[in-house]
Symmetry: C2
Subunit: 259 residues, 2 copies
């Protein structure tokens, strides 16, 4: 949409889960082209070396909406702004914050050229570390109750269990919410078999990736930190044991007969 | 895991939704390194120019499990095999077929070095074309009843509606199943507001991408083909109108209060 108008441009990108080998070329191009880069410190540190003419607006600001407004103001002033997320920007990340800021903000922000550049989301990288646990129908649920009530989260978990979806759990734990995952497991145990496969993948898509496989009955909410993605299997999710190596976990595509 | 044993290697890759600018460098490296590439014709045509010493095993075989077995046999014979999917290989694609073939196949297949290289899935690319419709909790459901019953699909759709997830619908239509999407919309209309936002994204992640926005009340199942990804919004999914341009669609991260 370059040249559509005299104002600047805003591109919301996802770096993917780990190193540059999982960042799409389209995102790398957008980062090189940007005059201004806006994002959370953790993700800004993963950017390649930038040029002196590129301005970095890093922040540890937990209020994504404020970062989004700042980025929109820069773009309105004519800058070529890139908003940086990890994973995919549309999955529990900056893209929704930017559009929320647009809807509730200055009328001129609606005239901007805004583009979302997708990336490999954390759940896809975590699934790849284990095999194919998201190979059938699945859900993604954030356990963060910063922006929605715990009641909403519980009701989503129950619906996902009733539908026998595999469930990817984002934001399973934080220092502010150490008990969320344990509460989620306790709730899921009321609605799913204790034999259901649960996997914990820490630092998916990086050389330090660590995979832990449990049953729902034995899964412990304290095993996850903010770099962990948890996947609770469907009833049909299977573990393939291997001699002397980590098992593979997958959900068959054909599972209707299970119930 | 190279060199772990004397047998070959099998890497299951996802090319992403469109052109090479959405294929990760890790996948490009695996494709260049491969001695043998196995996949469905449609995806094989998207590969870059291959070398004369690379063997392509393209097929229009609809039985993914047979392709998976063929790939596993090649790897067991010592070849460096890449199995090619579009999008992400773990989402309604070849990874689950390979692991299903492993579990039900030759014991020696469990000794192979098998790696899954994630990609940008079709739903993430489709969401990016529209804005951020998957910005809150969401589900992915395949409407193909090749491998599961239509009853299972209906029960999943109802569960997803009851949980007020945004819903990405894969395989919304085919020549063999022209009515599936219309049936899905009719069912969802019984469980969700007619005002719910529905988007159709054809050829997401390519220059020919086409976005259509409807309400659930007016959504027509014949508007999708096999290159279309359909996203049915949550109750909170919003449309941001713009003067003279396509609207943006997003799902706010804060939606608990909606019910």
């Amino acid at each position: 949409m370059n040249g559509e108008d005299m104002t600047g441009k805003l591109t919301i990108v996802g770096l993917g889960p780990g190193g540059p080998e999982l960042t799409t070329p389209a995102v790398a191009v957008a980062v090189r082209r940007a005059t201004d880069l806006v994002g959370y410190d953790t993700y800004m540190k993963r950017l390649p070396a930038l040029r002196p003419d590129q301005t970095v607006h890093a922040s540890d600001n937990r209020y994504e909406i404020d970062r989004a407004r700042h980025a929109l103001s820069l773009a309105t002033a004519g800058r070529d702004v890139v908003v940086v997320s990890g994973g995919d920007p549309g999955v529990f990340a900056m893209a929704a914050a930017v559009f929320e800021a647009v809807e509730t903000g200055e009328p001129e922000w609606r005239e901007l050229a805004i583009e979302v550049q997708p990336g490999v989301s954390a759940m896809l990288a975590a699934a790849a570390e284990a095999g194919a646990p998201l190979g059938g129908d699945f859900c993604a649920i954030s356990l963060s109750d910063n922006l929605k009530s715990w009641g909403t989260i519980e009701w989503r978990l129950i619906s996902a269990a009733q539908g026998d979806f595999a469930i990817a759990l984002y934001n399973p734990a934080s220092t502010a919410r150490p008990d969320q995952l344990g509460k989620a497991f306790a709730l899921l145990r009321q609605h799913k078999s204790g034999e259901t496969v649960v996997i914990f993948v820490r630092a998916a898509g990086t050389p330090e990736a660590k995979l832990t496989i449990k049953t729902l009955a034995e899964a412990d909410g304290t095993e996850a930190d903010m770099r962990t993605l948890v996947i609770v299997g469907a009833e049909s999710t299977r573990v393939i044991p291997r001699v002397g190596r980590a098992p593979w976990v997958y959900t068959p595509r054909s599972e209707g007969a299970a119930r």
